[in-house]
């Protein structure tokens, strides 16, 4: 095969150079490497770190796709252009228009998250001379799912750089980190740019923009897109029923709204034996119990 042998020759050519980790990282995306065992066990199981991380990404993809539709749905719903969808398969939810808005807003988040994060990873790999580790594949997918839809891309860029460097690389990279890089990014955003991470304007695409137009003197209705927790905090009435919350027809961070798909993802991870049900269950028990204590 032409491609295979060409890439193999390039790999041999780069061997031992500074750029080897960067090249190898790209190469291994195309081909499982030709490495063989030396001592120890002469055979190895089929799974590697890439497959492990890739399985987590597969579990996240439904949330990402749902998040795209929901971004458009919340936008048009707030504008009053569409009726509220009834249930998960509501006719006004799975529409082309919703998806277009969602893709327009969410894909840049994904691209920035992966582009910036992997650039930092490659940089550190080249400087320190180790291979690019696959841990960021999952982080890069989690980041767009846990930020508000309208977050400015430059903020995300700064946060991702901070999160990957402080959350992971300073400790030595994947496997050595004591912080979760994705949550470090989220925490950084929350404390550095609180106005963009809370309140009732950031969860629905267009709300902030609309506010700015109103402030400029235009005669428009403000869009309110507060989350359910936000509504409770302000003693407002909540206009969503439990099924909306379960299916995910509510404002929130991109991928967090649909409990249904999150549960499916969790079950998939437990089934594939990549996720540990003990950790998932204990987190679910621990969170409310801590919450009730304060």
């Amino acid at each position: 095969m032409g491609l295979k042998s060409n890439l193999h020759q390039l790999k041999e050519k780069y061997k031992g150079t500074k750029m080897a980790p960067a090249f190898n990282a790209l190469h291994t995306f195309l081909y499982l490497p030709n490495e063989t065992t030396h001592g120890g066990t002469h055979i190895k199981a089929a799974d590697d770190l890439k497959r492990t991380m890739n399985t987590v990404i597969m579990a996240l993809l439904p949330c990402l796709i749902y998040g795209m539709f929901n971004a458009g749905y919340q936008h048009y719903l707030a504008l009053g252009d569409i009726e509220a969808a009834k249930g998960f398969f509501g006719s006004t939810f799975w529409t082309w228009d919703n998806l277009v808005i969602g893709m327009w807003k969410v894909l840049p988040l994904v691209i920035i998250s992966y582009g910036v994060g992997l650039a930092v990873e490659f940089l550190f790999a080249v400087i320190k001379g180790h291979e690019v580790e696959e841990g960021y594949l999952v982080t890069g997918m989690l980041v767009p799912l846990i930020v508000p839809i309208d977050i400015p891309l430059w903020m995300l860029t700064v946060a991702v750089i901070f999160g990957v460097v402080i959350g992971k690389e300073v400790f030595g990279g994947t496997g050595m980190n004591i912080l979760n890089p994705a949550l470090t990014i989220r925490a950084f955003l929350f404390f550095a740019y609180p106005t963009w991470m809370s309140g009732d304007k950031v969860w629905v695409h267009g709300a902030v923009e609309r506010d700015q137009l109103i402030a400029a003197g235009e005669n428009l209705d403000a869009i309110s897109g507060e989350t359910i927790l936000g509504a409770y905090a302000q003693n407002n009435s909540v206009s969503y029923d439990y099924w909306d919350m379960f299916w995910g027809l509510i404002p929130g961070s991109v991928g967090e709204t649909s409990k249904f798909l999150i549960i499916i993802g969790a079950l998939f991870l437990i089934f594939t034996k990549i996720g540990s049900w003990r950790i998932i269950v204990s987190t679910l028990i621990r969170c409310p119990s801590y919450g009730l204590n304060f």
Binding site: G39, A45, D48, L49, G135, M176, T272, I274
Partner: protein
């Protein structure tokens, strides 16, 4: 008296190419090789020069640190060559064999009347001592320390390993002599692990305590038995002996001859006719490879089983402790999108688009590809599912990597051997060399604590 041990955590790796239960005599090897590197941490002090004439059982070298421990020639012949490597370390002692063995006669030992010291000195003098290993450190036993127990595992669960029920057939006399003698060396028991469903030869022997073992690999590892029955704490020592080496010891006691003969399983998916051979320690591996024939050219020849054996060349020789030779295909080829496509033909403990869980009884043709690259340890929680010892595997591996002796000690380093970590190494998604890490950790401990 028998005790039951049941092992639930682990993994049976089913491979194609199991050795058929037929026995042939391997052609006599022209040369025999002793590799001092197989005797871990032993620095050899030679007593023969190139060109010296040897009888089977003549001493070739002894341990520099413990001069009582002697290593003898498995055959009679002439020392053809002493190969040295870097820093003039002796790598191989090549013996050109005579057509027929001429044995050094140590005389028949009267096991019943011999006491502990006499037996010990007899085994040391005749070159049988290297068959006895100790934990901690998984090295040749220190003859000056009395072990609290001795362990033998006659249950083979490693992939494609020789079946002891077959290789020990007809050796009751030798085994009885060996266990009667060796059991005098400890105040504790001589524990022998046998498979529950097997008709083990050991069940009819005296002077031993039989452990009935059920379950999946590593149920047959001697380390598993030790951990389940009588864990090794600081300051304690247990010895381990392989059953096939007991046969050599037994024959020496009964006849006075050091007969290095042993039955070796030639197995693996690259072997045309996998079966058992009668051969001798240190024989050329080609003598059995070419009798059985290979299916392909590009193969990995392993002196031992696929989990903990050593790579050797087709011109290589059998190891001192080996009873299995495995030949599997090399895997040095790329696989397009191999990291994310569904996998049906490889073994996996997850279900991450790997489908080996659908056919738990299927046998595989695994090659030597690592199926991924070396990465840092990532906590996956999967090691614990294949690791039956009451030890935290990830933590002890990391302690070995950052060389924290206190932590290694606290986590149970005294009772582990590299082979106990073969399964965790097999399933490790980061493709870390667990056995190597443990070996280096043990060496460090030995150097620092002793």
């Amino acid at each position: 008296m028998s005790k039951d041990i049941k092992i639930k955590k682990g993994l049976n790796i089913r491979l194609n190419g199991e050795a058929g239960k037929t026995l042939s005599k391997a052609p006599r090897s022209r040369t025999f090789v002793i590799r001092p590197s197989e005797f871990h941490l032993i620095t050899p002090k030679l007593v023969v020069k190139e060109g010296a004439k040897l009888k089977a059982g003549d001493v070739i070298f002894y341990s520099k640190a413990e001069e009582k421990i002697k290593f003898v020639s498995p055959v009679s012949g002439i020392v053809q060559k002493i190969e040295r490597g870097a820093k003039r370390v002796i790598t191989e002692i090549v013996i050109e064999a005579d057509q027929k063995d001429d044995y050094l006669d140590h005389g028949v030992a009267s096991i019943v009347s011999m006491d502990e010291n006499e037996i010990k000195n007899h085994l040391l003098a005749t070159g049988c001592w290297p068959f006895i290993k100790q934990r901690p450190y998984d090295i040749i036993a220190n003859p000056d320390i009395k072990p609290k127990a001795i362990f033998v595992s006659a249950f083979s669960t490693a992939p494609l390993a020789a079946d002891f029920d077959f290789t020990l057939m007809g050796k009751e006399k030798e085994l009885q002599a060996a266990v009667s003698a060796v059991s005098k060396l400890t105040d504790g028991a001589l524990n022998v692990g046998v498979g529950k469903n097997s008709k083990s030869i050991f069940e009819g022997l005296k002077d031993i305590s039989v452990l009935t073992v059920t379950g999946i690999h590593p149920a047959g590892n001697v380390g598993t038995l030790i951990n389940k029955l009588d864990p090794v704490n600081k300051g304690e020592v247990v010895w381990t002996i392989s059953p096939q080496d007991l046969v050599v010891i037994g024959e020496l006691l009964l006849t006075g001859k050091f007969n290095a003969e042993r039955i070796v399983a030639l197995s693996g998916s690259s072997v045309k006719n996998p079966k058992y051979y009668t051969t001798k320690i240190g024989s050329e591996v080609s003598t059995i490879l070419y009798t059985s024939g290979l299916k392909e050219e590009h193969v990995r020849i392993i002196d031992g089983n696929v989990l903990s054996g050593n790579k050797i060349t087709p011109k290589g020789h059998l190891g001192y402790y080996t009873n299995t030779v495995t030949v599997i295909p090399e895997g040095d080829d790329y696989e397009f999108f191999g990291w994310n496509k569904p996998i049906f033909n490889k073994l996996s403990v997850t279900r991450a688009l790997t489908f080996s869980w659908l056919q738990p009884k299927k046998k595989y043709d695994l090659n030597t590809n690592t199926n991924g690259e070396h990465r840092a340890f990532v906590v996956t929680g999967s090691f614990e599912k294949v690791f039956p010892l009451d030890i935290l595997p990830m933590q002890i591996l990391k302690a070995c990597k950052y060389e924290d002796l206190d932590e290694m000690e606290a986590l149970g380093m005294y009772e582990v051997a590299p082979e106990d970590f073969a399964l965790t190494e097999f399933i490790c998604v980061s493709k870390q060399p667990h056995q190597d890490i443990i070996r280096k950790g043990l060496d460090l401990m030995y150097k620092e604590i002793g």
